[in-house]
């Protein structure tokens, strides 16, 4: 009897240890595919590019890492106008996206009723065609002899935009306005979707409560709806600004040599001039600049406790 009672406590003891050990490692095993993905598609290319940016040499003699950091300075001092232009165009497109996208998202979230799904599909529908084709379509829309330019001319809108330097003469194509229009159009869904998500989450009773507490409809929007949609505004502007700042398709197809953005410069350096160190350095500068701006923006918008 005594041996029989002693046996069971002994038996499970060695059995228990391995599962506990396996359990401790489970999270890491589960993380592994993600980590591998990051290493192969993010960390390695970054390291490769970082090393490229500090190499010197030529195509014939080959490139060697010589820790030539001057490439960064040279790239920045030569291409700062394109950097500045990229930021300006992206910022303009982001503001336009917000102005167009907010009412649209508001409409879908609160007023669309049974049309909600249809409008959502219409917002996403352009994604079913190629980015390139859609941008090329804008070439037709803004063509010199097209109805849009004709109408803008007739209304003397182009006189104003030309005076502002956004267009030149009676053309829209190959001007900053065309590039910003293209950027706005292409990134609008990235603004609308997060805005819609955060507006849709707002409890409708909060609007009623605000009205009940003497807020007129616009005050309700200003004091309740808009502050509560800030997470959507922040993620929407980031999702628009970041890719727009690095975009080169719109400037390439709708712009001219005077509207070149930093994306076009990087593309030319890589594919035409084959100056890999400069292209890599420009990419890093762009990345650093965007990271810096985004960090400041998120800090200042103070939406941490809303998300």
């Amino acid at each position: 009897m005594a041996t029989a009672t002693e046996a069971p406590p002994l038996a499970p003891a060695p059995d228990k240890k391995p599962p506990r050990k396996r359990g401790r490692w489970t999270p890491y095993w589960l993380l592994l595919p993600g980590l591998l993905w990051l290493v192969v598609f993010f960390a390695l290319p970054m390291i490769y590019q970082a090393s490229t940016s500090v190499q010197t040499g030529s195509l014939e003699d080959g490139y060697k890492v010589t820790w030539h950091f001057a490439t960064y300075w040279d790239a920045l001092s030569e291409y700062w106008p394109q950097f500045l232009r990229s930021v300006l165009y992206a910022a303009a497109a982001t503001v336009l996206c917000l102005l167009l996208g907010y009412p649209l998202a508001y409409l879908i979230a609160f007023r669309a009723g049974r049309w909600r799904n249809l409008i959502m599909i219409l917002v996403i529908a352009p994604f079913f065609t190629s980015f390139l084709i859609r941008t090329l379509a804008w070439k037709t829309i803004l063509a010199d002899s097209g109805p849009v330019v004709g109408a803008l001319n007739a209304l003397h809108v182009l006189d104003v935009t030309s005076w502002l330097g956004w267009t030149s003469g009676d053309r829209v194509l190959a001007t900053p306005l065309a590039v910003v229009c293209g950027l706005t159009y292409n990134f609008l869904p990235f603004m609308v979707l997060p805005l819609y998500t955060s507006l849709e989450r707002i409890d409708g009773r909060l609007h009623e409560a605000a009205g009940d507490l003497y807020a007129k409809p616009f005050t309700t929007f200003r004091k309740v709806t808009f502050p509560l949609s800030m997470p959507g505004v922040v993620s929407g502007t980031l999702l628009t600004f970041i890719p727009a700042a690095g975009d080169y398709v719109n400037a390439e197809l709708l712009g001219s040599t005077d509207t070149r953005m930093i994306g076009n410069v990087i593309q030319t350096q890589f594919l035409r001039i084959l100056d890999y160190p400069t292209a890599a350095a420009l990419s890093f500068i762009l990345m650093a600049a965007i990271l810096l701006m985004v960090t400041i923006y998120i800090r200042r918008s103070g939406t941490e406790d809303l998300v």
């Binding site: 409890d203 009773r205 909060l206 009623e208 409560a209 605000a210 009205g211 009940d212 507490l213 003497y214 807020a215 007129k216 005050t219 004091k223 309740v224 502050p227 509560l228 406790d305 809303l306």
Partner: protein
């Protein structure tokens, strides 16, 4: 309080609301006098919340008019009405702290120095310490008090409460009921309270309107509704009633004598809301706690002049203050009796033959054309 002041009266005249073919509220006339605590009681979907929302201006009536005091407000938007609402789920602004939530209404009316008022109001609801917290950091009961404070600070003519205690657990609910009653007495504002909890309505309100299917079934003080229900719905929804179908036999003085089963029952004519023609059917009702239970062996000791019914105990459950019996009677298979546990007769166990008897003054009469079970199970559905 000035008794001639009627600016806090709520007067609904012929107000109705329809959604397509569905009528949520049938044309309704209702007056809530200034300074009273008024409850709209009913099961979910009975139109009580819709009625409240029409007073608040959150719902446009399909017909009729709403008056606050002498001012017609039927088509005024909510932000122009001198009423405030405590919403069912509180609807506190999640991005504002407690102080700003409470100050919201004052600020919208352009009042600059709100600090003292807000602090005083937070003290009234005992939340002074929590002023700088966000709503999600508070417990349900605290959030509820913020919602009350946020509405009351505007000193509305009428405070509307839409199931304000629905999300709280039972104990907290009892506590908040007393709290709200205290606040109402203190500020003297007209309260209109919507609830599906009959006990809550009876504890708090001076006047209760029982609503069913978009109509007010009966309106009166809690005691009045409980003692003299006019419909089977009210009789069953407010507490429990034993209803027996009986036939009018004769009238003697102020009383009606009815035949039920083999016996006779006496009902004061004043307590019968149904027409009483000889030979006509009437539902005779009596509340379970009005009934005395005597073992059949002692039937001779029952005083003369009491209504009596015989039956057999089917079930009994001891619940502390009282014992609840279910009696199987020929006239009513599930007759409920609540007996106070003062002198318990050990013979009163399931299976025992008993005589139920009560003072005829506690009997009420209802129209037999109604559904005898109206309002019986509704409470469980709503809870």
């Amino acid at each position: 309080m000035n008794t001639t002041d009627n600016s806090g009266d709520v007067r609904l005249s012929g107000i109705s609301k329809t959604y397509g073919a569905f009528t949520a509220v049938h044309p309704l006339d209702l007056t809530v006098p200034q300074g009273s605590f008024f409850a709209l009681l009913g099961a979910s979907g009975c139109g009580k919340t819709t009625t409240l929302r029409m007073i608040a201006g959150l719902e446009e009536p399909s017909g009729g008019t709403v008056f606050l005091g002498d001012q017609e407000v039927t088509h005024l938007p909510p932000y122009k009405r001198p009423v405030n609402t405590v919403f069912q789920s509180y609807a506190l602004f999640p991005h504002l702290d407690i102080f700003e939530n409470v100050a919201f209404g004052l600020r919208r009316r352009g009042i600059k120095s709100v600090k003292k008022q807000v602090v005083d109001m937070l003290d009234l609801v005992q939340l002074g310490e929590q002023a700088r917290k966000k709503p999600h950091q508070l417990s349900g009961g605290q959030q509820q008090r913020v919602a009350v404070a946020r509405a009351l600070i505007n000193t509305p003519k009428v405070l509307l409460l839409d199931e304000p205690l629905g999300a709280l657990d039972l104990k907290l609910r009892r506590q908040m009921q007393l709290e709200l009653k205290r606040i109402q007495t203190e500020v003297g504002i007209t309260f209109v309270h919507v609830t599906h909890d009959q006990e809550e309505a009876m504890t708090m309100a001076d006047t209760v309107a029982v609503m069913n299917a978009g109509r007010v079934e009966q309106l009166g003080s809690p005691t009045d509704l409980y003692e003299n229900p006019n419909t089977t719905f009210v009789a069953n929804f407010l507490g429990t009633s034993n209803l027996i179908e009986a036939e009018v036999d004769t009238k003697s003085g102020d009383d009606i004598v009815l035949k039920a089963g083999g016996g006779k029952l006496v009902l004061p004519e004043a307590r019968c809301s149904a027409p009483t023609t000889t030979g006509g059917k009437v539902l005779v009702g009596v509340r379970p706690e009005k009934i005395s239970l005597t073992h059949a062996d002692d039937a001779g000791e029952i005083p003369e002049g009491r209504n009596r019914i015989t039956g057999k105990i089917a079930d009994s459950s001891f619940i502390g203050v009282s014992t609840q019996y279910v009696i199987d009677c020929p006239v009513c298979p599930e007759f409920e009796v609540y007996a106070q546990n003062i002198d318990r007769d050990a013979r009163l166990v399931p299976g025992a033959e008993v005589v139920l008897h009560w003072n005829p003054a506690h009997t009420f009469g209802l129209d037999a054309a109604q559904d005898i079970d109206a309002g019986v199970d509704i409470e469980e559905e709503a809870a």
